[in-house]
């Protein structure tokens, strides 16, 4: 009976740990590149990219670094 209880506890722990390990944030970018084509000099142009949170945990956008 005691062994069965221990086995049950181990099984629960494994399942909880597996759940924690599987929950991870994930960023998916719907369209990750954009071609503006011909653009005049000395102009400011812009484009919107859509960022999707597709993981199992909340996604934090920490920083966008110009490249």
């Amino acid at each position: 009976m005691k062994t069965l209880k221990q086995l049950f506890l181990i099984l629960i722990s494994v399942l909880v740990f597996a759940g924690i390990a599987a929950s991870a944030p994930r960023l998916t970018i719907a369209e990750s590149s954009f071609n503006f084509g011909f653009v005049p000099q000395h102009s400011k142009i812009s484009h919107d990219f859509w960022l999707l949170s597709t993981g199992d945990d909340e996604l934090k956008i920490l920083k966008v670094v110009p490249g």
């Binding site: 944030p25 990750s32 011909f38 919107d48 999707l52 670094v65």
Partner: protein
């Protein structure tokens, strides 16, 4: 913070300055997902002579909808001339739809000039912004053209407000 299943818009603004020819930029997005960081890529062919492009010419090649008086400036016309020998279909690829609408002809015959209209949405009439729209042609290269749209608001009412804020400081 973006809950699971949610989405957010990331606006990338590119100043073409005095760049020439093809330019590519790859801003990096750092998140709690960890490395490697994801990137978005923008490419543009910066032209120092926008008045002599091929297969179309757009006039004006930059649209300025700035307003420096109480007279409301909320729309502008532009024309597209087909300088090639083939008929071209024109399609809208991207534009800042929150800020303005674009009436765009869908075809232009060889040698023909067609016109379009940009109209600022009411919600953004009181705001300054730098946006753009991008069109694509049906030529073999699927050429794209981006027209910058600039609006600066400096009405007498706004200037008074600026003065009051400065006095308050």
């Amino acid at each position: 913070m973006l809950p699971v299943g949610d989405s957010a818009k990331l606006e990338i603004i590119f100043d073409t300055k005095t760049y020439k020819s093809k330019v590519s930029k790859k801003p990096k997005i750092q998140t709690n997902e960890g490395p490697p960081d994801k990137r978005v890529t923008i490419t543009a062919t910066i032209t120092p002579r926008p008045d002599s492009t091929y297969p179309i010419r757009i006039v004006p090649y930059k649209v300025d909808l700035s307003q420096f008086s109480d007279k409301v400036i909320d729309k502008a016309e532009f024309v597209i001339t087909n300088v090639s020998e083939e008929p071209l279909d024109i399609s809208m690829i991207a534009f800042a739809q929150d800020y303005f609408s674009v009436e765009l002809p869908d075809k232009v015959k060889p040698g023909e000039t067609v016109s379009g209209i940009i109209k600022i949405n009411d919600d953004y009439l009181a705001k300054s912004f730098n946006k753009s729209f991008t069109i694509e042609l049906s030529d073999p290269q699927s050429s794209r053209f981006t027209v910058p749209i600039k609006r600066t608001i400096r009405t007498p009412g706004n200037q008074d407000r600026v003065k009051i804020i400065k006095k308050g400081k």
